[in-house]
């Protein structure tokens, strides 16, 4: 076996969210605010949520890794940290190149047409103007939003949730990534689009990339990933071949 080249190295990573305005009863009144000013105490409305508690793993080139866990276990947070979008509190995350995160709520502009959103999204990913011009028709074609009439010229607020998810996936998949992080993005599409996007994920892997996939659909994890990491309350419970990890995870959720 050839030497394996790591693309993501996580070394005891901790991520803490500071949430403003998570008020406990009786702290939101003006009097309470005044008292805080006078006594110089820290506002109780800022709460810390320790979302990732010491995660270490190494991802290699050509791997597709499934990330599973119950809701709120820290999967999306971990992906954001890997993408360098959320600062790490302790530990360190090393990455090859710039990992790209493909999330369900990658904010595009709802008042603009799908076409303009494609242009904006591509520019935000760092493409040049020529590349954007060249890629735009391909992206729209791949997303299939024009299958039911000229939707690409309509504002995105008129799209169904499946359609906008498809467009977002198509934009992000248009670029070659060293590391692609997919957060539930394939869940909303219909069966036909899911097949097409899984195809695209395989292509991206063949391009010597690493793919992380967060999903609650075990079937798509089993189909695309040979390795899986099971995250629970910000701690890795298992890391290994997908069939073993998925089995453990399913036993765990059934017991609950």
């Amino acid at each position: 076996m050839a030497e394996r080249i790591p693309t993501i190295v996580a070394d005891d990573v901790h991520v803490v969210y500071r949430v403003h305005g998570a008020g406990t009863p009786g702290t939101g009144s003006p009097v309470a605010g005044l008292r805080r000013l006078v006594t110089r105490s820290r506002p109780p409305t800022i709460r810390e949520v320790h979302a990732i508690k010491g995660v270490s793993f190494t991802a290699y080139r050509g791997e597709a890794i499934g990330l599973i866990g119950t809701n709120g276990s820290g999967k999306s947070t971990l992906l954001r940290a890997v993408a360098g979008l959320l600062p790490v509190d302790r530990g360190a995350l090393y990455a090859m190149g710039q990992p790209s995160l493909l999330g369900v709520n990658a904010a595009l502009m709802n008042d603009l047409s799908g076409e303009r959103n494609v242009e904006l999204g591509c520019l935000a990913m760092g493409m040049s103007k020529e590349q954007v011009r060249e890629q735009t028709p391909k992206i729209i074609e791949f997303s299939g939003i024009n299958d039911r009439g000229e939707f690409s010229s309509l504002p995105m607020r008129t799209y169904s949730s499946g359609m906008s998810a498809r467009l977002r996936f198509s934009i992000a998949a248009a670029k070659r990534h060293d590391v692609l992080l997919i957060d539930e993005a394939l869940a909303t599409g219909d069966a036909q689009f899911r097949r097409r996007s899984e195809e695209r994920v395989r292509e991206l892997r063949a391009d010597a990339g690493t793919v992380f996939l967060v999903s609650h659909t075990m079937a798509s994890i089993v189909d695309t990933c040979e390795r899986s990491i099971w995250l629970e309350s910000g701690v890795i419970r298992a890391d290994g071949p997908t069939d073993e990890v998925v089995k453990q995870y399913e036993d765990f959720t059934k017991r609950k």
Partner: protein, 298 residues
């Protein structure tokens, strides 16, 4: 379970050493100032597309669309004409008071809206920031660019007002261009400062309207600048006259209006205008860059 790969030439290395060996970099690390500036430059098309998209989307549900870019300053001018020109009939030491007032107002609104937009440039775009990796300075700069486009529309209206109120066309009008550019640099700098502050301190958004109103009274928008020297102690008047917004307003008045009273001589105004633009522009950029890693946290 955690270590499935036992036979690996790298297995004796620590995670950090492994990363170093293969040339991995810390995810989301802040680039150096020069590298950051270069990255920002390579995102210039994104900045202009984003600024443009914001204009389009802000008018997208209105019937008149982008016509509002022109209609807003026209309506503003009409309201002030009604109050100061018809109801109060202010003359206040100034020939052509309406044009004097509108010039001050439009220049002030340019900075005001850039600053108000800047406060929310980070906090209002967390979704975008948490989804995509790009130099965050794009956002406050795009805000300034959006307002710049509105300002160009205002200038066209302003020139109309100036002509209607009987000012002669002159070569001095060309001075509008450098004055506007200097003010834009100043605005971008301040927008970057308040963007970083506003990302951490949500209370700032509530304070900004009061700060801006105070600033407006200190910039001689609604009355003649001559009043400062007449009613204030000398040091206070001098202090107010160095106020950047007053400087940019004065430059514009000097360019467009004949016989508008100025608080400072013209060369002093230019020196102040360049100084403020450099100070805010460079200072704001460096200050914003220092916080680059933290913006995703919100």
């Amino acid at each position: 379970m955690t270590d499935t790969v036992v036979v690996d030439p790298d297995s004796h290395l620590s995670q950090a050493e492994l990363a170093a060996k293969h040339g991995l970099t810390v995810a989301g690390a802040r680039p150096g100032l020069a590298a950051y500036t270069r990255r920002l430059w390579s995102y210039r098309h994104f900045i202009s597309a984003y600024a443009n998209a914001r204009i389009v989307s802000s008018f997208s549900t209105t019937r008149l669309g982008r016509l509002w870019q022109v209609l807003t300053p026209v309506t503003n001018a009409a309201v002030y004409y009604l109050i100061f020109g018809v109801v109060l009939n202010t003359k206040a030491d100034v020939p052509n008071f309406i044009a004097y007032l509108c010039t001050g107002l439009f220049v002030f609104v340019f900075s005001q809206s850039a600053i108000q937009g800047g406060v929310q440039a980070i906090s209002g775009n967390l979704g975008l920031i948490r989804a995509l990796q790009f130099p965050r300075a794009c956002l406050p700069i795009a805000v300034t660019l959006t307002q710049f486009s509105n300002m160009v529309a205002s200038i066209i209206v302003l020139i109309g007002i100036v002509l209607i109120t009987g000012e002669p066309i002159s070569v001095e009008w060309l001075v509008v261009v450098p004055a506007l550019l200097l003010q834009s640099v100043f605005n971008a700098g301040v927008a970057m400062i308040v963007a970083r502050l506003g990302a951490k301190l949500a209370d700032l958004k509530q304070l900004i309207p009061f700060i801006m109103r105070t600033w407006m009274y200190a910039s001689g928008v609604l009355y003649s600048v001559v009043l400062f020297e007449r009613h204030l102690p000398l040091w206070a008047a001098r202090l107010l006259e160095a106020n950047p917004l007053l400087v940019y307003i004065e430059l514009m008045r000097h360019a467009l209006l004949e016989g508008a009273p100025l608080a400072s001589p013209v060369p002093v105004l230019w020196a102040l205008a360049v100084g403020w633009a450099l100070l805010a522009g460079v200072g704001g950029f460096v200050y914003f860059w220092l916080g680059e890693q933290e913006y995703g946290r919100g």
